[in-house]
């Protein structure tokens, strides 16, 4: 087995194996990896275009009972700084966002058992009715599992009711690294890898579209990263319910893990992960690079390593901010960052439909 044979496979559109993936992750030169990734990126999306979405990431509560060691955001009920907003307050938030051109609200919160199921449903219904410009992209798998436990309904019943309330897409957060070894170490109350996959599977079966994510750079090893890719690729074969894959590195600031892992994974690692994801996840339409999680400059570079989407504008973001990781942008800046990278910026919806194509500007 060697790298050029793998490249021949990639060129002829064949799927690479777990062993080949591991070899690429551990041995392949960075630029060779990028070259292979582009082979697939341009086959799937031949245009020299990069999409982005105008979105915001507010949170309705920071009260959470899962106690993940990688999280600096959560509080317990009664802690100073805890909050839970009413549906009214959130609708006001969404209206302000809509006025700023936002089309997608990615809404997540802690797992707060004091909140009744009706609250979640009302949030969807009222958003659809009162802020129709906004596409609700609400509730991670962890929250859905939490709702199921509190309400006594099965995951399938919960998802069905969310669908009936008007929800059509679900964010892919909470996957972290899909390894039970890692998950046990990181948050003993967080579900297993199979729990995450199961919520996604049932959601896709109903017709939901979701993203898949990976937060790496903490306790996982290379095998577990490949395993993560393997499991989401297998699930994608079943219903094709994932719109995109979004990786980011763990930000240790203010988390219990900070003592063991003082720094976040280097940019080289991010570029390797982006490129390998593009190669491995041959049934995913999009790989998302982020100006947000690794910095604007590395986000730009990632667009040349297989990513074809630049994520959202994240006009509001609180989770990374609690880890002292703050990165802000504007719609204008996102457009320029994409142009400066040598691509035509295209604004998209949550479902990756193209809304508006901007100008191509010859960079440098």
């Amino acid at each position: 087995m060697n790298q050029s044979l793998i490249y021949e496979k990639v060129k002829s559109g064949l799927r690479i194996t777990r062993e080949e993936g591991l070899l690429l992750l551990q041995k392949e030169e960075l630029l060779d990896l990028g070259e292979m990734a582009n082979e697939i990126r341009y086959r799937k999306n031949p245009e020299q275009q990069v999409t982005f979405v105008i979105d915001t990431n507010p949170n309705y509560t920071n009260i959470c009972n899962v106690d993940c060691v990688f999280c600096a955001f959560y509080r317990h009920a009664g802690d100073s700084g805890e909050y839970t907003y009413t549906v009214d307050q959130m609708i006001q938030n969404f209206k302000r966002a809509a006025a700023n051109g936002v089309t997608t609200v990615l809404l997540q919160g802690g797992v707060n058992p004091a909140i009744p199921f009706e609250y979640y449903l009302e949030m969807i219904e009222r958003t659809k009715k009162e802020v129709p410009e906004i596409h609700p992209h609400f509730y991670s798998t962890t929250e859905i599992i939490g709702i199921s436990e509190v309400s006594g309904l099965s995951i399938q019943e919960v998802l069905k009711k969310l669908w009936d309330a008007g929800l059509r897409t679900i964010p892919g957060g909470g996957a972290e690294v899909l390894s039970d070894r890692v998950r046990k170490k990181m948050g003993h109350k967080k579900g297993t890898a199979e729990d995450w996959l199961d919520v996604m599977r049932q959601a896709h079966k109903i017709g939901f579209k979701t993203t898949a994510t990976m937060m790496y750079g903490h306790l996982e090893n290379d095998d577990e990263i490949i395993d993560h890719f393997e499991r989401i690729r297998a699930l994608q074969d079943e219903y094709h319910g994932f719109t995109a894959f979004i990786p980011w590195s763990f930000k240790p600031g203010n988390t219990p893990l900070e003592k063991i892992i003082p720094n976040f994974a280097p940019p080289m690692r991010y570029l390797q992960i982006i490129a390998l994801a593009r190669i491995y996840l041959d049934n995913f339409d999009h790989i998302q690079a982020s100006w947000f999680s690794e910095g604007k400059k590395i986000g730009q570079v990632a667009l040349h390593f297989g990513a074809d989407d630049f994520g959202g504008t994240l006009l509001e973001e609180n989770v990374h901010a609690e880890a002292n990781f703050v990165n802000k942008t504007t719609v204008e800046e996102v457009i320029q960052l994409i142009q400066d990278s040598g691509f035509t910026p295209v604004q998209r919806t949550t479902l990756y439909e193209k809304i508006k194509t901007y100008e191509f500007v010859q960079a440098v």
């Binding site: 790298q3 050029s4 490249y7 041995k27 030169e29 960075l30 630029l31 060779d32 990028g34 070259e35 582009n38 082979e39 341009y42 020299q48 280097p266 940019p267 080289m268 690692r269 570029l271 690794e294 910095g295 604007k296 400059k297 590395i298 730009q300 570079v301 040349h304 390593f305 320029q336 960052l337 400066d340 990278s341 040598g342 691509f343 010859q362 960079a363 440098v364």
Partner: protein, 621 residues
């Protein structure tokens, strides 16, 4: 892996690069305009690998800005102050000395240009640092400052540089180049010296044996054509003197300068392209620096895959000092840089001001002699170095020193270094031996052999073997006694010697074009062959005894496979290096074919004979 180009304009450029041909300004435009960033990076990485293997250099350095008072008012500068302004400062020599710690290897001095400093004060800074910290190389004063001294103190540039050199100046920084076109100069820094003045100062320094860096400030109002014109001018100057050590592209930071570039900061893509294009255009400048303080650590580390092989140093780490507590800030900074380089898959190499490796922070390092005649080993070794070995180019003499310190695990050793460390090394089955003549160890002489009695010979610092071979030939074959004087690294004035011993690519180059004033040229390998009827062995492959058997086997397999493959590729390999020393394709091929790379009976016989003869002479340099 081969390059799969997405941009159809790139393959002709790749063709040129593989033939060792020089790129034109038009090629540069294509490179800057391409959206195929990966292919651009791969080409630059290929060229960088040929030049410096897996090495990425850093230096423990300290920046001294002796004053911010300046008579100039350059638009892009938010550092300079006028005398009497509240935050203007001028440091005394004692204050400067107090900023330097003993572990510093390079002191980088630049500052404003106040109207009332005396010439002696500038000399005193250099002398005091050099005297108090002899291990630190003083790198001082940009061309702009030198030109200022020249005008203010009414001394010729050469005299200014001579006095600084006598006080301890070793190298000069490359600041002040900005962009070499009059259009940009008039708009942004009309008081600065411009291309002509800048290059004159640098070329004068090179001729005195003071190597320098060169820079380019990009990302303001310049066009891509202007960046390329800038690079081409530097390349032409380097053709004349060869004194530039590294090129440093500096991304413009608008700060409070009032200049409004298109973007607040250069994009990462522009940064990486500029690094890659400069590696490809500046074929005669040894190193390209990704100056992490300006590029950000993240982009600098990615740039190490786009043609950069130097990351500057610990400069700019002062802020860390406040958070560091008990640990020395220098140690912290050093650890961080080593981590940054290792994460990019490269060898962190601590260097001195002349790019001599001082410490190598990696396991499984193979030393590479950076001469054309070793290309058949390394060309394919580099491409197949998946066995976990990494390649560090290093002059033969340095290889001996690093090996002695245990910092190198294997490599081609100059024969004398092998003799010296024989008990710690295992001899492998490969070498660089001559068939009859070699053309790359040459004595350029004003006299015939016997006429050299009592004369002074300048000898290269690079390898002990050639020096011993020369001595053996002089004393044992011709019965002649001479004085050996070591040439210093960089540029030398050969005229003061009666003969000069040059090896490697320098010898090859001057053998072709001639060395002015030296009419006789002797090929030492031929002298040896005519005398002993044996091939001469310049270098042998060896590895540490302590390397595990598995690693040794892996290494042997790698060398053997690499050499066999290369021997099928004569005519295609070594062309880039050949071109640079003025050989055409067939001359390069013929030169390589003149060597025997396998250590056989006759080569072993040479080793014994040479060892015996060397023991009978006494060398003093």
């Amino acid at each position: 892996m081969p390059i799969y180009f997405r941009d159809k304009y790139l393959p002709p450029i790749w063709q040129k690069l593989q033939l060792g041909e020089r790129l034109s300004l038009e090629d540069g435009l294509i490179l800057f305009k391409t959206n195929d960033l990966i292919s651009l990076g791969k080409m630059a990485h290929y060229v960088q690998q040929q030049k410096s293997g897996d090495a990425v250099y850093f230096v423990l350095n300290q920046k001294i800005e002796h004053t911010n008072v300046c008579v100039l008012s350059c638009k892009f500068c938010d550092f300079a102050k006028k005398k009497g302004e509240p935050d203007a400062y001028e440091m005394t020599t004692d204050e400067i000395l107090s900023k330097i710690t003993p572990e510093i290897k390079e002191v980088h001095i630049t500052g404003g240009m106040p109207h009332d400093w005396r010439w002696e004060r500038y000399i005193d800074i250099v002398r005091s640092i050099h005297n108090k910290f002899p291990d630190a190389d003083v790198k001082a004063y940009t061309a702009v400052e030198i030109d200022f001294f020249h005008k203010k103190f009414k001394l010729p540039i050469e005299e200014i540089l001579r006095q600084l050199q006598a006080a301890g100046l070793r190298t000069m920084p490359g600041g002040g180049a900005e962009i070499f076109t009059e259009r940009v100069r008039k708009l942004l820094f009309p008081q600065k010296i411009g291309a002509k003045g800048y290059l004159e100062v640098h070329k004068t320094a090179h001729k005195l044996g003071i190597p320098t860096n060169c820079t380019m400030l990009y990302g303001h109002i310049e066009t891509i054509e202007e960046r390329l014109i800038h690079m081409v001018k530097l390349r032409e100057a380097q053709d004349e003197t060869g004194g530039f050590l590294s090129f440093i592209p500096l991304a413009f930071q608008p700060g409070d300068t009032g200049i409004k570039p298109k973007n607040q900061f250069t994009s990462a893509i522009d940064d990486l392209k500029t690094i890659a294009v400069s590696r490809l255009m500046l074929d005669n400048i040894p190193h390209i620096k990704a100056y992490w303080v300006m590029l950000t650590e993240e982009v600098a580390s990615v740039a190490l895959n786009f043609g950069a092989d130097d990351i500057d140093g610990t400069v700019g780490q002062e802020r860390i000092a406040h958070d560091a507590g008990a640990i020395s800030p220098m140690k912290l900074a050093k650890d961080k840089i080593i981590k940054m380089i290792s994460e990019a898959g490269k060898i962190p190499v601590e260097r001195d001001a002349f790019y001599n490796p001082l410490n190598v922070y990696s396991e499984n390092v193979i030393g590479k002699i950076p001469y054309l005649n070793s290309v058949p080993f390394y060309h394919n070794l580099e491409k197949s170095a998946t066995g976990g070995f990494k390649i560090l180019p290093v002059a033969p003499r340095r290889m001996g020193m690093l090996s002695k310190e245990g910092q190198i695990d294997a490599g081609l050793f100059s024969l004398m270094d092998y003799f010296d460390q024989e008990e710690n090394l295992e001899l492998l089955d490969w070498c660089i031996a001559t068939r009859d003549q070699v053309k790359s160890v040459m004595l350029f002489s004003k006299e015939g052999w016997t006429g050299l009695n009592g004369k002074k010979i300048g000898i290269t610092d690079d390898t002990a073997t050639s020096v011993h071979l020369l001595k053996v030939i002089l004393e044992k074959k011709y019965n002649v006694r001479t004085e050996f004087v070591r040439l210093h690294p960089g540029v030398n004035d050969y005229a003061s010697f009666d003969a000069v011993l040059l090896i490697g690519d320098d010898a090859l180059k001057y053998n072709k074009v001639g060395l002015n004033g030296f009419e006789l040229v002797f090929d030492l390998a031929k002298e040896w062959y005519d005398w002993q009827k044996l091939p001469f062995v310049f270098a042998v492959w060896a590895c540490k005894n302590s390397l595990s058997d598995i690693r040794k086997e892996k290494l042997k397999d790698m060398i053997s496979a690499a050499l066999n493959k290369s021997e099928d590729e004569y005519g295609e390999i070594g062309n880039m290096q050949g071109r640079q020393i003025g050989l055409n394709l067939s001359e390069t091929k013929e030169y390589l074919e003149g060597f025997n790379y396998r250590l056989g009976e006759r080569e072993r016989e040479t080793m014994s004979m040479f060892r015996k003869l060397v023991n009978e002479i006494n060398i003093k340099v």
